[in-house]
Point group: C2
Chain length 224, copies 2
DNA sequence: CTTTCTTTCTGAACACGTTCAAAACAACGC
DNA sequence: GCGTTGTTTTGAACGTGTTCAGAAAGAAAG
């Protein structure tokens, strides 16, 4: 965030640096883009970029932040357009993929550090907790709105589980090199179907022991 | 691999570089360890390390390679010591965790690039295909030896699925900061139980449609 | 206008991974 | 011994992300 840089001139410089960076990330990827490239394109000295962003990673972090904000209305719209748990799940994730589509190259930086929950850019890190919370809230809303009977014991874990599921799809999409990411499309379709099915099955009395085990697993993995 | 460096002197230098590197990785982590540190500790010039290893990553790759080889007899022994699918699954994974225990710090470099199947160090990359194949073969052996009825359609996918499962446990273990990695221990226990249960359930006629869907998902994710 | 203080910007410098031309060494034929 | 050929080792140099002392540009006060 070009933040606490309050004068209009500074605001403009910050924007120019961010835009230059994202342009270059898109064109040639995160790794191939040099801080010197970014500065040159933004017509400032190398060090200036560091006045606005404490590190190269921070530019991507800012991109995440802004993406999250910009996507809110689109998600809202998509959920209004569509009913039912399965369709909404798919719609929500589809909105994200569509939004990120032009920046798939930028997201590849996720692969570099995404698995390390200590790294600032990881979707599991404390640094991204705010974004994560906003995202999870949507899954919570989908669940309460869908009118489906959800077992009491499972309910509090579900937003997190669905968020994690979504994260998996996004990871796969970033990696997916099939034409037009066709494999991701198929995965998204079948996987949301399966999730909806499992959720329906979860409240059957017969499933109680299985559900209890699943909850234990979730608690082991999710608990701090 | 200090390879094709054939004279005894060269062999010795290569070893010294590898050992110095692993010592330092253990002590202060992969990132905090400098190639210059490694060279200094091995009492060679900076460039010498690059005569034996094309990159810093390659040292870790060699470590993987050697680890894999060294673990073969231990795995064999563990599987002879124990019967039944569940116990053997747990035993196999436990052998790996025990073996890697002194080098948890080294494995943290997995987090940095493990999720990117193009990165040489990723367990999903072409570079690690040989190790992966060896590992998967063990799971195949466990499956055929356990005498359990495995559905024909599912069978060819299972070694890969179990290997992926194992990879998940290892990832979790690397991240796990609970005392003595107690959470991983609980996860391993409960998760292997669950896997064994699911595998037993998978051949019930009632489960056929669910199994077919699962196989489709597996094929989407696993296919080149 | 001059002085002082803050914000914005500069470019040289640092440590890192990596490369490379050339030095040192070893092995062999003479 | 000497020269030739191939292996091993060196250390300076490059490009990277990042830091930092201070220059430049504004803004506020006298």
């Amino acid at each position: 965030m070009p933040s606490a840089k309050n004068t209009p001139k500074a605001e403009e410089t910050g924007r120019r640096i961010l835009d230059s960076a994202l342009d270059l990330f898109r064109e040639q990827g995160f790794d191939a883009t040099t801080m010197r490239d970014i500065a040159r394109k933004a017509e400032v000295a190398t060090g200036a970029a560091y006045y606005y962003y404490p590190a190269k990673d921070a530019i991507v972090a800012d991109f995440y932040q802004r993406s999250c904000e910009e996507m809110q209305p689109r998600i809202e719209a998509a959920l209004n357009r569509v009913k039912g748990l399965e369709a909404r799940l798919r719609a929500l994730i589809a909105v994200k993929l569509a939004y990120f589509e032009p920046n798939r190259g930028v997201l590849r930086s996720l692969l570099r550090n995404g698995a390390d929950p200590r790294h600032p850019l990881s979707p599991f890190s404390p640094d991204t907790a705010a974004i994560r919370a906003i995202d999870m809230a949507w899954f919570g809303r989908i669940l309460t709105d869908c009118g489906m009977r959800i077992p009491r014991d499972l309910e509090p874990h579900l937003p997190g589980v669905l968020w994690f599921f979504q994260m998996g799809v996004i990871f796969f999409w970033v990696i997916d090199d099939s034409p037009k990411q066709a494999r991701t499309a198929r995965l998204l379709d079948l996987a949301t179907k399966s999730v909806a099915f499992l959720l329906r099955a979860a409240s059957l009395p017969l499933m109680r022991p299985l559900r209890k085990t699943a909850i234990q697993l979730i608690e082991i993995v999710a608990h701090p």
